[in-house]
């Protein structure tokens, strides 16, 4: 195996796709948050106005988008922790590739049951409950 020439930066080579994904998820979550504060502000208008907007959160397509949002936040959080460890932990730079694999594994392990619990109601209401 040729020696990897990654240096110590998380930006670059193998680290590059995580850097791009970190950027995209950060921006996406930020824009969601702008809208989210607006929809929450409807509690100052009337209970009805708020409940109507929140009803859209419960529709199948938006429900699916919520899984995407949670996946994006979770990736950004895990990769953010990895970046912090690379910066501050003395062994971080050497282990950064292993940590990339680790966060992908943690992401999957949390997202599988997470997606299940987030979608179960929608799936049952669309296709009927089996029980």
């Amino acid at each position: 195996m040729p020696k990897a020439s990654v240096g110590t930066l998380y930006r670059g080579h193998e680290g590059m796709w995580t850097w791009v994904a970190h950027r995209i998820t950060g921006v996406a979550v930020f824009f969601f948050l702008l809208v989210h504060v607006l929809d929450t502000a409807l509690v100052r208008v009337s209970p009805n106005a708020y409940d109507e907007v929140i009803a859209t959160y419960k529709t199948p397509i938006v429900n699916l988008m919520e899984v995407g949002l949670v996946g994006a936040v979770l990736f950004h959080a895990l990769n953010g922790i990895r970046i912090i460890l690379v910066d501050f932990w003395s062994r971080g730079p050497r282990l950064q590739k292993q940590m990339t694999w680790a966060i992908m594994a943690i992401w999957l392990v949390l997202m599988i049951p997470g997606a299940y619990f987030m979608l179960i109601h929608t799936v049952e209401s669309l296709f009927g409950s089996t029980s």
Binding site: G7, T8, L9, Y10, R11, R23, G26, V27, V29, F30, L33, L34, V37, L38, T40, A41, V43, R44, S46, P47, N48, Y50, D51, I54, Y57, K58, N63, E66, V70, V73, L74, A77, G80, I81, I83, I84, V86, D87, F88, S90, G92, P93, G114, F117, M118, H121
Partner: protein, 133 residues
Amino acid sequence: MSAPALNAPKTARSGGRTNYEMWSWIFMRVSGIVLVFLVLGHLLIMNILDGGVQRINFAFVAGRWSSPFWQVWDLLQLWLAMLHGANGLRTIINDYSERDQTRFWLKAALAVATVFTIALGTLVIFTFDPNIS
């Protein structure tokens, strides 16, 4: 380790801003660690526990914001996520906008959106009225 080297992205700027950039670099990391608990906790409560998103309505919010604990939680989450996200976007604008004018207007729009959203969210938490009709 090589921490300071990370903070020299494509930002074609020099002079006068190093101290600010250092604090911003530290702020991104400190706020990030706090946000792990706040935002992942928020998402777990809102989307997974106890019926998830299906159970959210005005009465649910009224119940939560009757407790100072969740008021403080949401307030911290609002300020930290907005400032962390806005600061991240500032870096991205610096990286990609090539003309000084574009950069200026993008940052102005970002600042307006950020101040407005933080102010609105703070106002909503402090003036929430469960008996509003």
